[in-house]
Amino acid sequence: MKRTLIYTAVLAGSLFAMASCNKQLETTPQTELTELKTFEDVQSALLGSYEGFKSTRYYNNPAASGSASAWSALPDLMGDDMIEALESLGNWRVMSEMAFNADNIAVQLAFSQPYEIISRVNNVLQALPEYETGDTEAEAKTIRAQALAIRAHAHFDLLRYFATEYDRNSTALAVPYVTSFDPLNPLTILPSRNTVKEVYDRVFEDLADALVAFDEGGDPANNTARYYIDKTVVYAMRARINLYAKNWQAAIDDATLALNDRGLTNEEGYVAVFSTDTEAAPSSEVYWAIPSDNAITPGGAISGGNPSYRVATPLSDLIEDLGGAYDEPGVILFNQDGIGGFQRTIVDKYPGVNSFKVFRAGEMMLIRAEAKQRLDDATALNDLNELRAARGVDEGTETGDDLLDAILLLRRVELLGEGHRWFDLKRTTRIINRSECGVADGSSSNNCSFGADSRSWAFPIPFNDIRVNTNLVQNPGY
């Protein structure tokens, strides 16, 4: 009896060993998907592309973190309208002192995150054709339109940092324009930098295709919160790009198209743009907002209760003088106590968790005014005054260069804290002279002036990327 038992045990053991062969090694991921199997998956993948904008590398900007936040807080804190306060932990100092090198992590992330988003939309675009017929056709076209617009937007954002100049037909190097995603050969596809002109060409091509696809598929559904790109956003994208490219007439036309869809409102409308209460149904001035999803703080470095950067005194004084909607709480806060007894002026557009407004009507009006003035179109003053009126600010009668200065100055006021200043400097004067510098001025930064000859007006191509992709050519000076 006992012996039988033992034989059984031995046999059972051996059988166990055999049975557990290959089948036991078959495991599948339960929290990840390995391929986009259905149209619903493709829809989710489009949202995944949008989700890339929520990154701290792009539009999110947690306080005191030193995140790249390359298209939200960074262009402001690198500009001359922001002063690094004594409270700062110094996490963004290398950027605001324009002292970055090719191995800088923020530069690396500002380069990689747009491409991350681009790879996601390219993946969506590759998965899409089979759904562009039948029941799913319309929705698939709408997805295509959004994906193309996202691709153009991300490439243009790269160009803004990495190109040395913005002229429409410049042969200066911009960035590679990437239109495919090949997950199997990530190490061997090594694109070269396209010229500024080439990038513009393809950006405009993608945006034109996006408009066609929107015409075929319609605007995205359920878009009251303005989280998704529609035709108006594409016009706005083109208006901004044309402004940089100095395509003045095209900028005027596109801004007009956008403003025709969603124009300026009034003082309350401006303040409401930045209100956290209206995220689900924002002011009609908002074109495209990156959702907060109860987590994103787009202005941590420059806004809220304890930012590392405060508003420079001359601009603060100007805003106080202007008044109207611009000196309202919810837009700006004056006389906040700071370390060393310094009274701080703080941007209040992002008191905390808030969506980030990528495009809105105010910018369109400023683009149109500036473009008109560049063409010596006298109606530029009308646009400027229209904006002033909508903000409750006194209208003016400027002409010529004074008018251009007034437009550019109001641009600093209207768009303060929204990711424009450094790019505007780059495309205009290329001079930074911060008004306050050093501990005595209540600033923990000591390097505060930079001229047009600074290499830093174009970001370096990141060290690691140059290493692995020898087709990339470094920007001058690095």
Binding site: G13, P29, T31, S44, A45, P62, S112, L184, G305, G340
Partner: protein
């Protein structure tokens, strides 16, 4: 039956003895555990044999009336002279420590050290068992050459960082495999295991030794067996100790109130804008924050164990508790353990089970980071002129808020707790197959279950909650609760068939061959959430209010299946010996892993080892060297640890956008991904001199990891999150290991011994992916072909220019000095992994008194002192600041090493790179063991009392709490073990304890 014969022998002996005699009786036991020694020979000193001990170790002989001393001998034990006393004698014999008799446990089988061909170190667990450490791996430091243990954290229950013979992998795991009774366990679980239950600890280092562990053993294996019962009279033991620990001195010197205010006013430009009156007021407050954040911490441990059995069934059981307070306020661990090991033999069949359970209750704090939320950082950044506790008992607020919060409040009010429940056990069945002689079948099946519940709270109104609010996270304004539950289960089933035989003339040839199959499966489940708004007066979920879109208290829920993998293996081992002098062992193995694609899942490798006992040869006539063994081995081991469960698959992970779920590629697939293979050549010699008074061994090894698991930098333009794992590059570890043991004095009453070990490991990156020779790595580090892994990459600091107070740097050429920091001047410097490691133990004993000391030495590594950067950075003059700031440059001509404060401090320079060399007196112990006469009179089996000190002396230059920078890190995946921050000081501790055996 045997009893009767023994008795008869005794009778015969008596009858042949001379007339005048006296009766002597007593018992002979093993000194170590008190188990009876059966068959020990008893004779009169310089006289005749009187008899042997019986089954219970007892004896009753008649000695000549004039005899004063009896001599006891037994194979494998030291000869012992004992004075004859009236009444029952209790004779404790000590096992001979000659290496040849030592047994090497490899987990699957045991071999004598003589026959072993590989590189193996046996840890003398008995010498270190009583060290008060909640996590056993901490004790391994310095115990054997080639094992590098970092114990820098003094946080109770934290596991150590253990590396055997250098790091062999970049993105794969470098942690060794821990095997307890044949079952894999995790290092993190040592805090819920009881080292008092461990019987042997063996470290397997070369390929010949680890090959049978296959892919799991690529980074070395630490094999633990737990105590078995012994037949004979039941022994009941109590082991206990209590002690206290205190804070060491921080070598990073900070300013006191007077210094800080002088600094702020005279050097830093009065950043707070204090008026003279305010300065006077602040000068009256001088707070040493260490007094509030740290404390003297107690510890106690108690264990009761019992062991015994019959000749067929034996058991060992224990129950223990361990309670250790951390020196940081609020931290500590309490653990409770139970174990039962049983085995039963019946003819050809042996079955047994080892079962252990543990429960630990842990409160910790964050360490190893640069976070402003970590109390161990904020204690350093505190202002000495601000109060920790106000006169009314409330926690002090700071002018630095919200960039700084009170660490005392944080530690006291907002604890991080966890509870671990762990059950581990195995059953085995061994059957000597009756129809083929010497053929044994064995099955060992074991499971390891652990359940970790984590809990943390930020109470409403605390500075931490207000900090989150101040930084714009409004939904965190009223505090939060996070709870997580992780359950892991691993089972291992091993079948083996062993055949042993001897043949040839005089049975000169002996052969042992074993075939194994093994299956290991890991699974786990995890769930966690963070909920906001702790508005009701409860410090648990009852305190939460429901979340609405309005109040924003929307909980975040996570979870999943962190582990889901399996490993299937078939392997065999052949050991051959000729004349007990020539040994050869071969292993071969095939492994299949679920972590790799079906096409690349299986791999084969093996090892060969040989040894030769030269001193047994007829031609060997070296008198002073009584033993010489030469050995060599070569073999390969695969690795697939630490690479995640599905590294070969392209994966889409979840996200959200606008309240809707989203999918995006979070890993690029690599169908070609296969095994990382580490091949090791090992040669060595074991030597014994002067009748084994001096023992030495030397080993040299060279290992090469090929197909290195490496996440190459993916061109940004390729997307896919840049997450790709590939087999690329290679890395070499080469080193020598030496150990030396000397019995300087070895008389009956007085003994003095010294044991030393030393290891040198040189790590070299041989190649990187795609023909690259360089790649940036973690913060401040880079990988370069020809240089060691974890080499620093910094600009060399060249002091301060006395004329203008500017920092100066060396250009890349190393000669030119510039004041301009330039990334093009970054150079690859030394490594953060110490190449030199040594341990030394010495013990002096006189009769029952023993004094032993154990020290460790480590040298050749560098640490980036980020903690110092944070108190020397020019932007942080408003926080606690390093004393060195008083020497900051202010006037032309001033010669100093601290640049002017108006210059932005560059981080990536060698100004903050420091050497990590240290010597530490890790343990010193004074013990007294009651002599056997007294013990037997007291009717007990043994009694020992000891007092010991841990880390009482450490010599180091590193400017921090401790030169061993912990690799434990909580948040930041990009942070680096080589970078200091939020150090939990290691403890200086004194304990007293007793071991009592009844």
């Amino acid at each position: 039956m045997r009893k009767f014969i023994l008795y008869l022998t005794v009778l015969i002996t008596i009858s042949t003895s001379a007339a005048a005699q006296k009766a002597v009786s007593g018992k002979v036991v093993d000194e170590k555990d008190g188990s009876p020694i059966v068959g020990a020979t008893i004779r009169v000193k310089n006289g005749a044999i009187l008899g042997t001990t019986n089954e219970q170790g007892g004896f009753a002989v008649n000695a000549p009336a004039n005899a004063r001393t009896l001599v006891f001998t037994f194979v494998g034990y030291n000869e012992l002279d004992v004075a004859i006393i009236n009444g029952e004698m209790l004779v404790s014999m000590k096992q001979a420590s000659q290496s040849l008799n030592e047994v090497v446990v490899t987990g699957y089988q045991t071999r004598s050290r003589r026959a072993n061909t590989g590189s193996v170190s046996v840890v003398s667990i008995d010498d270190i068992r009583t060290q008060p450490n909640a996590s056993f791996d901490q004790m391994l430091q310095g115990q054997a050459p080639g094992i590098n243990v970092k114990t820098g954290s003094g946080q109770p229950g934290r596991n150590a960082d253990v590396i055997i013979r250098g790091k062999g992998s970049i993105n794969g795991s470098n942690a060794p495999l821990y095997i307890m009774d044949g079952v894999e366990i995790r290092a993190g679980d040592f805090s819920t295991l009881n080292q008092n239950d461990f019987e042997s600890v063996t470290i397997l280092k070369d390929a010949a030794s680890t090959a049978i562990y296959g892919s799991r053993g690529a980074n070395g294996v630490i094999v633990i067996t737990t105590k078995k019962g012994r037949s004979g009279k039941m022994r009941l033991s109590y082991d206990g100790q209590i002690g206290t620990a205190r804070l060491p001195e921080n070598q990073l010197k900070l300013m006191n109130t007077q210094e800080k205010l002088d600094f702020e006013m005279n050097i830093a430009g009065n950043p707070y804008g204090w008026s003279p009156a305010e300065v006077e007021e602040l000068r009256q407050i001088n707070v040493n924050w260490n007094d509030f954040v740290f404390r003297n911490a107690g510890m106690q441990s108690h264990q009761i164990s019992a062991s015994g059995g019959t000749d067929k069934t034996t058991f060992y059981t224990s129950i223990g508790m361990y309670d250790e307070e951390g020196i940081t306020v609020g931290t500590g661990i309490k653990k409770y353990n139970g174990r039962i090991n049983v085995s039963h033999t019946d003819n050809n069949l042996k079955i047994g089970a080892n079962l252990a359970g543990g429960w630990s209750n842990y409160t910790g704090t964050f360490e190893g980071d640069q976070s402003i939320g970590s109390a161990l950082n904020t204690v350093i950044w505190a202002l000495p002129y601000e109060r920790a506790i106000n006169e009314d008992g409330s926690y002090g607020e700071s002018i630095q808020f919200p960039f700084w919060i009170n660490p005392v409040e944080d530690l006291t009010e907002n604890p991080n707790r966890s509870w671990q429940l762990k059950g581990t056990g195995n059953i085995f069945l061994e059957y000597k197959l009756p129809w083929i002689k010497n053929l044994t079948y064995r099955i060992n099946a074991g499971g390891d279950y652990s359940q970790l519940e984590g809990f943390s709270i930020i109470k409403n109104g605390t500075q931490s909650a207000r900090q989150n609010e101040a930084f714009g996270q409004d939904f965190r304004r009223n505090g939060e609760i996070a709870r997580s539950l992780e359950r892991r289960f691993r089972y291992t089933v091993t079948n083996s068939l062993n055949y042993k035989t001897s043949f040839g003339a005089d049975e000169d040839h002996s052969l042992s061959a074993t075939l194994f199959t093994e299956f290991v499966k890991n699974t786990s489940r995890e769930f966690d959430y963070t909920a906001y708004g702790v508005l009701l007066p409860f410090d648990n979920e009852a305190g939460l209010v429901p979340g609405t879109a309005d109040n924003g208290f929307i909980p975040v829920v996570g979870g999943g299946f962190p582990e889901n993998n399996a490993l299937m293996s078939y392997f065999g081992q052949v050991d051959y010996a000729y004349k007990g002098r020539y040994y050869l062992s071969l292993t071969g193995r095939t492994d299949g892993s679920s972590k790799l694609s079906p096409e690349n899942r299986w791999t084969q490798y093996g090892s060969v080892g040989a040894s030769w006992i030269v001193s047994d040869e007829d031609f060997y006539h070296v008198n002073f060297m009584n033993f010489l063994k030469l050995k060599a081995s070569y073999g390969s081991v695969g690795n697939q640890n630490g690479i995640g469960d599905f590294p070969y698959l392209q994966q889409y992970g979840r996200g959200s956008y606008g309240g809707r779920g989203s999918l995006s590629v979070n890993r690029l697939g690599n169908n070609l991904l296969t095994w990382e293979i580490r091949s090791t050549l090992n040669v060595g010699a074991d030597m014994e001199f002067f009748q084994s008074r001096l023992r030495a061994s030397v080993e040299w090894y060279s290992s090469l990891t090929k197909g290195l698991y490496f996440s190459p930098f993916v061109p940004s333009t390729s997307g896919g999150n840049g997450a790709l794992l590939s087999n690329n590059g290679s890395m070499q570890n080469r080193g020598i290991e030496a150990s030396l043991g000397v019995k300087i004095i070895n008389t009956r009453d007085f003994k003095w011994s010294v044991d030393m070990n030393y290891a040198y490991n040189k790590n070299t990156i041989k190649s990187l992916p795609n023909g690259q020779d360089f790649q940036l790595y973690k913060s401040f580090q880079a990988l370069q072909v020809g240089k060691p892994f974890n080499s620093f990459y910094l600009v060399r600091y060249a002091g301060v220019n006395p004329d203008n107070g500017n920092s100066q740097y060396y250009k890349a050429d190393g000669k030119t000095i510039t004041e301009q920091y330039d990334a093009n001047d970054l150079v690859v410097l030394g490594t953060s992994d110490a190449p030199h490691n040594a341990g030394i133990t010495t013990a002096v004993s006189y009769k029952g008194i023993e004094l032993s000391a154990f020290g460790v030495y480590s040298a050749g590594n560098y640490i980036y002192n980020n903690a110092r950067f944070n108190v020397e950075y020019n932007g942080y003059t408003t926080s606690g600041f390093a004393k060195s700031g008083l020497t900051a440059w202010t006037t032309p001509g001033q010669v100093t090493n601290f640049p002017r404060l108006s210059e932005t401090t560059e981080g990536s320079t060698t100004r903050f790179l420091e050497k990590g060399d240290f010597f530490r007196l890790r343990n010193i112990q004074l013990a007294y063991t009651l002599p056997t006469e007294v013990v037997s009179r007291l009717k007990i089996q043994g009694f020992r009392i000891f007092v010991q000190g841990q880390n009482l002396y450490t010599s180091f230059k590193f400017q921090g709490w401790d030169p061993e920078v912990s690799t434990v890190n909580n948040f930041d995946v990009n942070s680096n073990a080589a970078v200091s921050g939020a150090q939990y000081p290691s403890l200086k501790r004194v304990t007293v304890g007793v071991n009592l055996t009844l």
